[in-house]
Every structure is written in C-alpha cells, then in structure tokens.
Amino acid sequence: MIVYPASLDAIEVDALQTDRYLDALLSAVDRRAYDVPADPAVDPTLRLAARRLRDELVRTHPSFRFEERLARRLADAAARMRLAAATGGEAEAAIVPFPTPLLADPSLAAELANPELALLLGARYAAVASGDAARGPSLAATAAASALAGGTPSPFRPVVARPLLVGGALTSAALSLVGAAFVAWRLTRGAPADPMAATTAVDAALGQRRLA
C-alpha cells in the first residue's frame, strides 16, 4: 500500500493514482501488453476511458510531399543562416537584397507579435520590456512595434538580417579590386599625383583661354 503525504488533497491523491496507472498503461504497449494489473484504487470507469483514449485517438502523419517540401524550406533557411554566420561582423555594408530574406515570411513575423512566443524564442524581449536598453532591441519588440504602427512586421531582420552583412563582404572585395585597377590605371597614365597641382593647372589654362 502506498502512503501519500498528508498535505495532498483527496483529488491530488486520486490524480496521483491515475497518473501512475497511465504511466503503466502507456508503457504496456512497449511490452505488447493490452492492460496492466487492475489497481483497485483507480476507478474502473477511468481505466476503461484511459484504454479507449489510448486505442482510439488516432495518430496521423503529414503527407510525404509536405514533409519533403518543408525539409527543403528548412534547408534553404539553414543555408542562409550559415552564409550569414560566415560573413558576420561586417557592420558597415551596402544592402544586397536577397530573393527571399531569411525567415522574413510575413506569417512568421505575425507569430512574433505574440509576446509570449517572442519571450520563448529569445530572452531579449524581456530585457527591452524591462528597460534594459543596453542589451539592444529585440526582434519581437521590433515586430510588435511594427505591428502596432500598422506596418508589415519583420521581426527576424534585426537579429538575422545577415544578407546585409553578406553584401558588406562582397562590397569590400569589389572595392579592393576597383581600387587596385584604379591605381594601376593612374600609374600608366602618369597623371599628376597632387590633385591641388592639377586643379591649379586647369585654372591657369582656363585663365589663359579667357585672356586670349
């Protein structure tokens, strides 16, 4: 016989007994057993209801097509996240728009207007709500503010707006190439190195033309 703590109410004791029965019943499937030895403490009608729920609540699987489509979508998003992480840290960059910005799906954005969900997905919402500005703006707060303002919320941008960083990396590389080409061109032309001297020369030439 099991002795329960005196602090428990009658309903809590009943609930504990039912819970033990459910543990045994649901694990009986692994042993290929239909039922478990009758526990006299558990109401027989409850036991019958539990067995029927175990047998009659159907388990369904989504279609294979849906499974693979979502797998592809997740893989695409993961690839964008990897790319973003690989080029992270380039703060000053030109914006290079991607065909589908990472997780910038409006329906996903709408989800994050829910502060509870936002809190679950990232603790930064709480930091902003409590006025801890040092920890930066949160994706959810941004989404909520955007939603309140009537705009299209885009909560993932502040956190994973990495396409901008990718753009930064590309821009830096492009600038370096252009710079090298420009220097090479100037060297072959033999143009005056001092821009001030060049300006003075042009000014003098214009003055002579005006006098003539």
């Binding site: 309903i11 019958l48 209801a49 979502l70 797998a71 893989a75 969900l117």
Partner: protein, 218 residues
C-alpha cells in the same frame, strides 16, 4: 543522468547532441525535424481538427524553431521539473503558441475546411477516412469537448506520449496541476462515454422493438 544542484537525479535531454550539432551548423537541423515532425503535426491536428491548418502550424513551428535555435538553452524555472527544459518541450511550447495565434486569426476571419463542403470523403481519400473515423469515435468526440488545457494535456499524454513533467513544461504549469487536469479530463471522458453507451443501448433497444413490431404487423 546527472546529479542536479539539489542532489536530485536529473535526466539529460535525449536530444542534446542533435541540438548542439544543429546549433553549430543549422544545416544539421534535419534530424530533429524528422524526429518531431509527426508529433508536432499530430498535436496541431488534434488541436485544430483540420489537416491543412495543422500543416500550416507545423511549418511555422519548425521555421520559428530553426530561427530561434541558437538561443535555445536547457534551462527551466527552479520549481519546474528537469524534463521541462528539453528541446522537445521547448518545441511544443512554440507549437502551442503558434496554435493559439492561429486560433485568434481564425476567429478574426472564420473559414471552414474544404472537407466540410465536400461532404463525404472519396474512397481513395485515406486521410479523409481517417478523419471521419476519428470524428466518429466517441472517445475523440469527448476529448474535443474538453476545455483548453485539459484537452491539450490529454492529447500530449495519449497521442504524443509525453510524461506529466513534460506536459507541465509545455503548458507552463506544475506537475501536480497537470495530474489533476488529466484526472479531471479522464473523469469527463468516462462520463461522456458511459452516457454515449447508454444512449446507444437505448437506441439499439428501440431498433429491436421496432423490428419486432414490424414482424408482428406482417
């Protein structure tokens, strides 16, 4: 297993290695996705009762989970059971919130599933038949009539086979409260099933009486 700060044996998250791999490289999220796809879909399907809406919610749940995975930590409030901090519980809490949002959106712009307009499912429509079978089940009908958290607790316990501690994590309640929720839910279901059987019995008696009367009149 490991020993917690209070000297309690704390089971490790069985998905820890998969989660760490996915956090290091998002491309390795796929095993977690394959493992929990059906469970999340089932939860959504039982909550919403519509296949397309369940797919929609499942998709959003996994997209949000992937985006937020770098911030996932195995941590739960001090009074919560250790199982409440696993990846599975975290994922189902996302699903629960996405479903709540979805319901709110549906209330704003109510729609009816296509099956309702189409009437009876076609012979090749296995899924439609499964839904029809589920709808016809008295147990399922009784579960659908349960109020919010009782229904969720039953679905998580019987369909997704979660422990009480895990359900407590998903529903953000204490283990004791979840046990009482489940006990009360079972009592309601048992009452409904008894009433349905009594109803069926009396209907069967009526049919037998009618049949006897027909024989007599012939």
């Amino acid at each position: 297993m490991t020993i917690g700060s209070a000297g309690r044996v704390v089971p490790l998250d069985p998905d820890r290695s998969l989660v760490r791999a996915a956090q290091a490289d998002p491309a390795r999220f796929d095993p977690l996705y394959r493992k929990y796809l059906a469970q999340v879909y089932n939860f959504a399907h039982h909550e919403l009762g519509d296949h397309h809406e369940a797919e929609d919610v499942t998709e959003r749940t996994f997209m949000l989970a992937l985006g937020a995975l770098p911030r996932f930590r195995e941590s739960a409030p001090d009074d919560a059971p250790p199982e409440a901090s696993t990846f599975r519980v975290w994922l189902f809490r996302i699903a629960r919130n996405v479903i709540a949002n979805h319901r709110r959106a549906l209330r704003r712009r109510p729609t009816a599933p296509l099956q309702a307009a189409a009437g009876v499912a076609g012979p090749e429509d296995v899924e439609g038949r499964a839904v029809a079978r589920a709808d016809a089940s008295a147990a399922w009908a009784a579960v659908r009539r349960l109020p919010g958290d009782r229904r969720r607790a039953v679905v998580l316990r019987f369909v997704d086979e979660m422990s009480t501690a895990e359900i407590a994590g998903v529903l953000e309640r204490s283990e004791g409260a979840v046990r009482v929720l489940l006990h009360r839910a079972l009592r309601s279901v048992a009452r409904e099933l008894s009433a349905a059987e009594a109803d069926d019995g009396s209907r069967a008696g009526d049919v037998r009486r009618d049949a006897g009367r027909d024989r007599d009149s012939r």
